[in-house]
């Protein structure tokens, strides 16, 4: 057993808001070992070549969430990303950048105030009258703890948030980390503010219905929190709790059941009509252009699944919610 090494070219993003108008890159060629992670290289560059290179870091083993950056556009925790893995993925040319260029303050450090504001917005704490001198703990079964689905291990690193395309294009959106946090408490049997919290993350433009289901968050998370799974669970909670507000997104979700129950397959036109209601007028140009090229089956040609009875029977026996 010995230390393997590889030669890697690093291009490191540099910018100082105090001085620079535009960012620039510095290049370093270094031999790296199979034990080294990205943070080791940042430290070597700072300590051996350029003392002014700035980045956040603390725990160096993936638990404090400080050192999030992007390597070749992949959001990583610098202290948990093995260089050999990156070389295998991207080759020996690695570009090290801040999580978000738009929010950079200096080198790899960004201003995360939007991230923290959204963390705050979901009331990220257990809401309960706290017994300050309890003789016994709350009894919570292992099964009930499991329902939190490890969402409590989110370390607020921001990898998901700054990888989320909804955030990139809609600054109101709460983002995956805040949703995972909202879920962490909504799923905790000890919390007394489930409904209140669900209402916060139900807001149009900001809330869970604007998730575009790209799975970037699940991919970017260094702790396997799987935020989109929590977003789906939050969606489910609205229907389970019977508090889903009728809006285009909830009607759209329900319309799937409606359609499958009727045809097995989707009745696309009916579904859009049901979800959009009067707003369906917005969809007319699309519909017309589709009609022109034969993309909309006529109602009398609506395809149906074979053995539709079986599907209907299963929907009857297996449905767990009503809307």
């Amino acid at each position: 057993m010995s230390l393997e090494t590889k030669k890697v070219n690093f291009k490191v993003f540099r910018f100082n808001a105090e001085r620079d108008f535009l960012p620039y890159y510095e290049q370093y060629t270094l031999d790296v070992t199979h034990e080294e992670v990205v943070l080791d290289v940042l430290n070597r560059i700072k300590w051996e070549f350029s003392g002014s290179l700035s980045y956040r870091r603390s725990c160096r083993h993936g638990i404090c969430g400080s050192c999030s950056i992007k390597v070749n556009n992949k959001a990583v925790l610098a202290c948990k990303e093995r260089l050999f893995d990156l070389v295998e993925l991207f080759g020996d040319e690695l570009v090290i950048k801040p999580l978000s260029e738009a929010r950079v303050v200096k080198d790899l450090i960004i201003d995360k105030k939007d991230f923290w504001a959204k963390y705050d917005a979901v009331k990220p704490y257990l809401i309960d009258d706290i017994d300050e001198a309890p003789e016994v703990e709350n009894l919570v079964s292992p099964h009930e703890v499991e329902q939190i689905l490890d969402s409590e291990i989110c370390i607020q690193c921001g990898n998901c948030f700054y990888s989320c395309p909804a955030i990139e294009n809609n600054e109101e959106f709460f983002g995956p980390a805040a949703f995972a946090k909202a879920y962490r408490f909504a799923a905790d049997v000890r919390d007394n503010a489930k409904i209140e919290r669900l209402e916060i993350v139900n807001a149009p433009e900001q809330g869970v219905w604007d998730c575009m289901k790209c799975f970037e968050c699940a991919q970017a998370c260094p702790k396997d929190v799987n935020p989109i799974e929590k977003i789906t669970k939050l969606h489910n909670m609205y229907f389970q709790e019977g508090i889903a507000k009728s809006n285009v997104a909830t009607r759209h979700a329900y319309a799937f059941k409606r359609s499958v129950e009727k045809n097995g397959l989707l009745d696309e036109a009916d579904m859009v009509l049901y979800a959009e209601r009067l707003d369906v007028i917005k969809q007319m140009p699309n519909a017309l252009s589709m009609l022109k090229v034969g993309k909309l089956p006529m109602p009398w040609n609506q395809p149906k699944s074979e053995k539709l009875d079986e599907i209907k029977k299963l929907i009857k026996s297996s449905s767990t919610v009503k809307f």
Partner: protein, 571 residues
């Protein structure tokens, strides 16, 4: 230049478990409180604690037994009144953390689950998988945040305002932009964490540079028991990153290059679950005798493969992940490489049970408090037991917060601050930014860390310690000749690292000096030239301060004994 002066009832430095818990109590008591931290609170190193937090509440366990284990583990240097207080309050404290939202693992009947840990008679470590510290840190911050505590995150506390036996605030700068501020306060609490970062192989975060200790020492105030640094038996080879004691608690076996389960030689009864200092020395001894393994032969194996994938995934998922990341080894399939790593600071700022900082053996500093790893109460004595550190931080953090609120109610005068109070900080910043020498900070720091590991590490002797004192003199002289490249005001982390090195150099001397004077072996402090414990001469705490000439002067403080008789310690 003008520096704003903010006024608070209480200012806390550090936002780990101790700082957050204290801040919440003060806020709830209606005090105006601010917390200064050089990280975001959720990035604090308390979050890295893996294995558990002790409380005696299982049927077969008792507070008494917890005390006994803690005192025995401490090699009888812990103050027994403080230990009794901690062990009695532990069950309530942990249940309180649970009530605030901590996500503990549970037993089948819904209670907080507990696991065995080294040096403990009963399974006593309450745990949240292998990320106990994370859920506790989050919970303490969340509830402090919920109460509306004001946090100054990414602010660097550079100095205290201390005159005539009284403290009146903290001087700090904003790491983001170098804005400076004076936090004038009736009461100040330090919760600044430990100092193991002064060693090359250590388990600590980059942030754990122990600044708080030397800030105190620079004012001529004493530090206590600084020679006691705990080396954890299981750091990952190379990086020193911690593999929790849970790995041994769950049944991990230590093996040398001959495949021998060598703990049978060192602790035939407790085996791998002997006290940390015993296991750490056994590992280093095996390596020194040429029975090390791994690419550098600087490690031994810990074998967990017999636990099976399911148990490892359920109880130790985080640890498995760490070994894969930093060694490329999967503990489900193969043994992993570990060695002793500098982990925990038993010594620190001397305080009484209520957190009052001692000025000397007779008196206290008015308005000054400390809790958590930076403090020496002392509940760990010469060696801390696993799962007692998060307990200390949370329990004493909260208790000291309450004690501050009480003292504030009784009345602590506010001595108004003035701009001159910022002078030390300004001088320090100017020196680091403007000094135009030839020495580089990273190089000096590496020399410090390597030499401390070499000369003041798991094994020490008069020879190595004297050598280290010479090295420290040299490094101190070279530090005066440093130069940094970064002159900017925004996130000048190079300046920060230089200031931190200054602190490390200052308190390293206390570690070495204390180790040199203590001509015995006790707990984590092992002198090869004095391998036995010497209760006659050294059953006392080391109090040390820096005199006006920068020389360290020390004097003993009596250990508070009590119901547990001082005995030989064997596992």
């Amino acid at each position: 230049m003008s520096i704003p002066i903010y006024t608070y009832d209480a200012v806390i430095v550090g936002a780990g478990l101790a700082g957050n818990a204290a801040a919440r109590e003060l806020q709830k008591a209606g005090k105006k409180v601010a917390v200064i931290t050089k990280l975001h609170p959720l990035r604090s190193h308390s979050g890295a604690a893996q294995g558990g937090i002790n409380a005696a509440f299982s049927a077969k366990d008792s507070e008494e037994l917890h005390m006994y284990d803690t005192i025995k583990g401490s090699d009888y240097l812990a103050d027994q009144d403080a230990v009794a207080f901690m062990c009695n309050e532990a069950p309530k404290t942990i249940r309180w953390a649970e009530r605030m939202g901590a996500v503990f693992s549970r037993t089948a009947d819904g209670k907080i689950a507990q696991r065995p840990f080294g040096g403990q008679s009963e399974p006593r470590a309450c745990y949240a998988k292998d990320r106990t510290g994370l859920t506790l840190l989050q919970t303490s911050y969340e509830q402090a945040h919920r109460e509306g505590v004001l946090f100054f995150d990414e602010w660097y506390a550079a100095d205290i305002i201390y005159k005539n036996g009284k403290i009146s605030g903290v001087v700090a700068f904003n790491i983001r932009n170098m804005d400076k501020a004076i936090f004038n306060a009736n009461a100040v609490m330090f919760a600044t964490g430990g100092y193991a970062r002064t060693y090359k192989i250590n388990s600590n975060a980059h942030a754990n540079t122990g600044d708080g200790l030397s800030i105190v020492a620079r004012h001529g105030l004493p530090l206590e028991d600084m020679e006691f640094v705990q080396f954890h038996p299981s750091g990952l080879s190379g990086s020193g990153i911690l593999i929790s004691e849970a790995a041994r608690g769950e049944g991990g076996k230590l093996l040398n290059s001959l495949g021998e389960r060598f703990m049978s030689k060192y602790a035939p009864n407790a085996m791998e679950l002997a006290s940390r200092d015993v296991v750490a020395r056994a590992i280093i001894e095996e390596i020194r005798q040429g029975r090390g393994v791994g690419p550098r032969k600087d490690a031994v194996y810990i074998d967990l493969t017999h636990l099976g994938a399911e148990k490892i995934m359920e109880r130790l998922p985080e640890l498995r992940d760490l070994a894969i990341t930093f060694l490329g080894l999967d503990m489900i399939k193969e043994p992993i490489l570990i060695s002793a790593t500098a982990h925990y600071s038993m010594g620190g700022i001397p305080v009484d049970i209520d957190g009052h900082v001692r000025k000397d053996n007779e008196s206290f500093v008015e308005g000054f408090y400390a809790a958590g790893e930076c403090a020496c109460v002392s509940v760990h004595g010469a060696n801390r037991l696993g799962a007692n550190s998060v307990l200390e931080a949370l329990l004493f953090g909260r208790h000291v917060g309450q004690s501050m609120a009480k003292d504030l109610d009784r009345g602590i005068a506010l001595r108004p601050a003035s701009l001159e109070d910022a002078q030390n900080m300004l001088d320090e910043m100017r020196f680091v930014l403007e000094n135009n020498g030839t020495e580089r900070v990273p190089e000096l720091r590496t020399l410090l860390q390597e030499s401390m590991t070499e000369n003041a590490g798991v094994f020490r002797s008069e020879e190595t310690l004297k050598k280290e004192l010479v090295i420290l003199d040299e490094l101190e002289a070279r530090y005066k000749n440093i130069r940094i490249e970064d002159k900017s005001k925004i996130f000048n982390t190079e300046m920060q690292e230089a200031i931190e090195l200054g602190h490390m150099l200052d308190y390293a001397r206390f570690i070495v000096d204390g180790a040199l004077r203590r001509q015995e072996s006790r707990g984590a402090h092992f002198r090869e030239d004095f391998p036995a414990r010497d209760d006659e001469k050294f059953l006392n705490h080391t109090m040390a301060y820096r005199d006006a000439n920068g020389k360290i002067v020390s004097y003993p403080r009596e250990v508070v004994l009590g119901r547990f008789e001082v005995k030989a310690r064997a596992y």
